[in-house]
């Protein structure tokens, strides 16, 4: 069955430092991959997505992610973290076998930013 693993439950990064959030997926074919961010009391906001083509994907708010098929990974990166980036981050894969392409989410990584 398709699944998404986010190995890090909680990460703390100093403001201005670089960030990498890990995501590994299990999927039989080429997946559709997503990163979402969720701030307290807010809905999920799409940061970026990968469907095909260039394996380095640029998103909003200065985020990028790289699809590595050999490692079944889709890690999220940002070169310089801002205090406003503190939130919950979810990696997701679209289940193309399911009508409507429901998303399968990881359990999330909580990002804290220290000053």
């Amino acid at each position: 069955a398709q699944s998404v693993t986010q190995p890090d439950i909680h990460i703390t990064v100093s403001e201005g430092a670089s960030l990498e959030l890990r995501c590994n997926y299990s999927y039989g074919a080429t997946p559709y991959l997503f990163w979402y961010v969720q701030s307290p009391g807010q809905g999920l906001q799409l940061l970026l997505k990968y469907f095909s083509g260039d394996t380095l994907v640029q998103g909003i708010k200065g985020f990028e992610a790289e699809f590595k098929r050999s490692q079944s990974s889709f890690n999220l990166r940002k070169p310089s973290v801002h205090w406003s980036d503190a939130a919950e981050y979810f990696c997701a894969v679209a289940d193309l076998n399911q009508a409507g392409t429901a998303l399968i989410f990881g359990k999330g990584t909580t990002l804290s930013v220290s000053s």
């Binding site: 809905g43 979810f90 679209a94 399911q98 998303l103």
Partner: protein
């Protein structure tokens, strides 16, 4: 334009009560999804509509959960005889099309069953 809206934002129900959660998708969005997000977990798929047709309800945890979208726009998720394990945030998302269409999420309804 307006995003996905959900009401109520918070709902407290006593065990055994029935609840109804509403989702207003973005106008013109064909696809509508419901997800359940337990505390400390990622969202989990419940059900999917394409227009008024419920094409997938494989994620509904029990027959106490029922969803409808009678006119292909607003959707209601109903939970009968609520149990404590139903406590979660219920998220609604809509998209223009599938597969792979970007899903836009509402703020969610936080249901607490006491």
């Amino acid at each position: 334009g307006a995003g996905v809206s959900q009401s109520p934002r918070y709902k407290v129900a006593k065990r055994g009560q029935d609840v109804a959660l509403r989702c207003d998708p973005i106008s013109g969005h064909v696809s509508l999804f419901w997800y359940q997000q337990a505390l400390g977990q990622g969202p989990e798929f419940l059900t999917y509509f394409q227009n008024e047709a419920q094409l997938d309800k494989s994620g509904l945890p029990s027959d106490r959960f029922f969803a409808e979208r009678p006119e292909g726009s607003v959707s209601t998720l109903k939970i009968q005889r609520t149990q404590q394990e139903d406590s979660a945030v219920y998220l609604c998302a809509s998209s223009l099309a599938a597969p792979g269409g970007e899903q836009y999420f509402g703020p969610g309804t936080r249901l607490t069953v006491t």
